[in-house]
């Protein structure tokens, strides 16, 4: 199997140019799918037979949780590529995931706790998914803390890559252990929406919102990654052309 294509797209000037072209498209797609998901979720979907209108929080809570987990996965994948093939572009992508991921982890936690108030009667319940999400937030904070403690970008890239790889091996174990721990002390759990039992009128908006969030994540991540590439390639010749071509 040839990895030549990978190295070609990993060339910083090409990445900078292509990402710059892709970002507007991805952003518009995110806006359109998001609008469709909102109309479907807040307007067309019927109330849930158990939770009434309160379940509509699902259309932002679950996509936020999915985004936060996926951002960590993307970060780990990019960090691994950066570490193995010493690709600056991959390191730039990894560094661009943490902040969005952390903010959406916070969002998943707050929307989860706002959902918990009417459903459990308290804002915080040691629900396994919320607890795993909280540990994920700590993993993000550790990643950002390590990066900010190291001044040299190359060292920060490689050290944080090792950390995120250790974290991604641990994440399933953490998730499993928290599930196991919760099953022992179970009080209430969030009412489960089995995928099969969910009617299409709810499922379709949910999937649309997830898609919108993932596209949004791609747009934010690529925007940040372009900046990170510029920072890493400070002295390269292509920079003066590339920034000359940018509208001010």
């Amino acid at each position: 199997m040839s990895w030549a294509w990978l190295h070609r797209y990993a060339s910083p000037p090409l990445f900078f140019r292509i990402a710059g072209r892709v970002i507007p498209w991805v952003s518009w797609l995110a806006a359109i799918t998001g609008a469709a998901g909102l109309i479907g979720g807040l307007g067309l979907a019927p109330p849930d037979y158990q939770q009434g209108e309160g379940y509509r929080i699902i259309f932002v809570h679950v996509p936020a949780a999915v985004l936060s987990t996926m951002a960590y996965g993307v970060m780990a994948g990019a960090a691994g590529m950066g570490l193995i093939w010493r690709m600056n572009v991959a390191h730039a992508v990894a560094a661009s995931c943490a902040s969005v991921g952390a903010w959406f982890t916070v969002l998943a936690l707050t929307t989860g706790s706002l959902w918990g108030r009417p459903m459990w009667g308290t804002y915080w319940e040691w629900d396994p998914r919320l607890t795993s999400e909280l540990v994920l937030l700590f993993l993000y904070l550790g990643y950002m803390g390590l990066r900010s403690a190291i001044d040299d970008t190359a060292r920060a890239d490689r050290a944080s890559a090792v950390l995120v790889l250790v974290g991604v091996i641990n994440l399933p174990i953490i998730h499993y252990s928290v599930d196991w721990w919760n099953s022992l002390h179970q009080g209430h759990t969030l009412l489960k929406f089995g995928k099969a039992s969910m009617p299409p009128s709810m499922l379709v908006p949910l999937l649309l919102m997830m898609l919108a969030f993932l596209l949004y994540f791609a747009a934010i991540m690529l925007t940040r990654a372009r900046g990170e590439v510029l920072r890493r390639e400070r002295n390269a010749r292509w920079i003066s052309e590339a920034i000359g071509a940018l509208a001010t």
């Binding site: 969005v100 959406f104 706002l114 934010i220 925007t223 940040r224 990170e228």
Partner: protein, 54 residues
């Protein structure tokens, strides 16, 4: 319309969630753009300095 806004009594929980989501989306757009703009400014300064230096 009022009935929709009332969300069957859950308005106090549903709308803050959507507002917070909007805030998080806006904040991350702002932060990402600011980070990119800062990188461009830094690169411009560097390119300018190397031109005037040579």
């Amino acid at each position: 319309m009022m009935e929709w806004l009332y969300m069957g009594g859950y308005w106090r929980y549903v709308w803050p969630c959507y507002l917070l989501t909007a805030a998080a989306i806006g904040l991350n757009i702002y932060l990402a753009r600011r980070s990119f703009a800062a990188a461009v400014r830094e690169a411009r300064r560097r390119v300018g300095a190397s031109r005037s230096g040579s």
